[in-house]
Symmetry: none
């Protein structure tokens, strides 16, 4: 009985003989000095949208929170367990990141579920149903719109949900204060794996524009 899937063991050895071997001193220094990433990325769990890959980021660069559909719930200091709020608080208050990037992506399974009128719970607990209900009101504004294609509704909600998460970020007092003081900046981005397109949110208008690759 192996204690780790073979693909991961093989990958780990590639890493050690490749990147780690080439950057050993950098890794040791990051261990010694601790992390001081400048950017928190809030991304989706999707296997095709790893922020480190898309932004070619090395160790120590990005503090990365990943949940289904890269959602930030509104500030709710009710003493319950809040995985996302905890990571946000840690990044902003302990690590003092300068940037927060909410990165959505195309073909998101969570967004698809939110738009599916026939979606049934995946299990009795219906955790995905409840989680995606965060964008339920937004989903309703497009889900019944049969003038848009299915794909257009999907992309529309993916982008709406990025702006929604950014609005929720600003309900956290610490985010609000630091942004007002100019010590924290908030960004939105949307990636589509097919052509490798990165669309960046205009921070004034909220529109997404494709970024060049040169």
């Amino acid at each position: 009985m192996s204690n780790l899937p073979d693909a991961l063991l093989t990958g780990y050895r590639n890493f050690m003989n490749g990147r780690y071997a080439a950057e050993t001193e950098h890794y040791k220094s990051l261990a010694r000095e601790g992390q001081s990433p400048e950017t928190l990325v809030i991304a989706c769990c999707d296997s095709r949208a790893a922020p480190e890959t898309i932004f070619d980021a090395g160790p120590g660069e990005l503090f990365v929170l990943r949940n289904v559909a890269n959602l930030v719930p509104p500030y709710s200091p009710d003493g319950e367990f809040h995985s996302t709020s905890a990571a946000l608080e840690f990044a902003v208050q302990a690590l003092k990141v300068k940037n927060i990037v909410v990165m959505g992506h195309g073909r998101c399974g969570g967004i698809r579920a939110a738009l599916d009128p026939n979606a049934t719970p995946l299990s009795p607990g219906d955790f995905i149903g409840k989680w995606m209900s965060l964008v339920g009101p937004a989903a309703e504004t497009v889900s019944g719109n049969d003038m848009m294609t299915k794909s257009e509704r999907q992309t529309a909600l993916e982008r709406i949900s990025i702006r929604y998460s950014i609005a929720n970020l600003r309900t956290f007092p610490c985010v609000q204060i630091l942004e007002q003081k100019g010590r924290l900046e908030i960004f939105g981005a949307w990636f589509d794996i097919s052509a490798g397109e990165l669309w960046v949110m205009d921070r004034t208008t909220g529109d997404f524009e494709r970024t060049g690759t040169v």
Copy 2:
């Protein structure tokens, strides 16, 4: 006013001219066919512990949930928002992953906070305090042990919390059933950035053993 941090824009261009250019067909195919990762990795947000880097994983390989200290709360179908449970449900029920790997790491800031007797809330909401209270009882078993060094207490709790998360995984009926049927396997691992060590949990004893790199 730039709409994305410069470092990320530069990184994205490296990605497009490098990996994406080299694997365009693979990316297009992943877009067309959808994702079908075999493995869910539950990892920490730490900037030095990206699973894709450590396991040298390409697009489509790993479905990755990242929260502070890679914790899985116990099954709690109470109708509240459960980010972690939602991702777990999606990976197991919708994507039908074959493996779940809980990957902790050395020098974890969340674990350090859980062990700090003088920790004060990072913000009035105290989201980190509440989140890390998941391993509070476990932390108490080592936090007062001044025969161990600070670093030894930290490593001990990092490993305890991996086993704790794995135990909680098994409180989810869908995980329990699929594991019993032999269609889902659960693994534990612990990475330390300094020497690049990967310690893999023995699934019989719960002990962690260092993995070779050759």
Copy 3:
């Protein structure tokens, strides 16, 4: 009736025809000049942890005290027989060693006994029980911790007991004075036979770190 076990007689002949034959002059000189080892090693009796083997040490190099679990009791000038204190005194005051190394090891039977809640005396005298009670208070800090695996508790106590012995070394006035004068240095190490790992104690933090083999 043979007067020595056959294995030892055979081994002795190998020694004489091998190492002794090759280093005869060195041996003769050590006999003539007397010993002047620079290092006292305090090690365990375990058959898998001989300091001369692990440190590839030749004749004259290491003055070696071996007892169960490499323990040093606290300074106690009460006129009783103190085997360990006698060897320590001889090494420091008569041989004027420059270094003392307390070397523990993995899978130590004495430590295992100290952690076993069901341990019963091995004989009516219960010499092991009494001897290992030196680390009894330390053992209690981990023995009840069922969040740690049996193996983790064992390793933790093995390392605690090395630091405990080092602390006791410093209760001996001669050790204390010479160390303060910079004429004596104290080290800790932990060896595990399985992978041949040697972990060396950081003298500032008390942490153990694995030593490279290249």
Copy 4:
């Protein structure tokens, strides 16, 4: 500040690249199966008299107790700390060794101290003085004998003390019983580094006879 004397670090690397590399499987097996040495050797701490070297013994072969002058005190179940008795009890009762070898050696510093009429305490605790007083009455029988040379008195007491330790071994009930049942054998030996001579005690007469090397 190095955390281990350089000579030991170098030696360790020689060991790993030499003996350990050549016998890795044997070492791993000893870790997995535990130790089961057939022989307990009670030897001196002297840097020139390591049993593993003299008997060319590999890992797992000899359980080795080393104190100054290889002394065994008489059985004394008084609830005090008895390092030597603890090791003896562990070897006989837990490991069930088949042989006990008391190995003295020439030019023993402890024996020399016991014979020195002008010996002064090495430190206020006088641990060596007390420890060597175990053979005090025996020492008196030769120390005043100026018909013997100094060297003859030394060798005489070295051999007397081996027989004394063997006699004390037999005051331990467990040793006595197992020896009577034929499950434990007791041997004496004396090594001199100069010519590499091994003298073995005749178990009937108590005489020491030189062993051939062929």
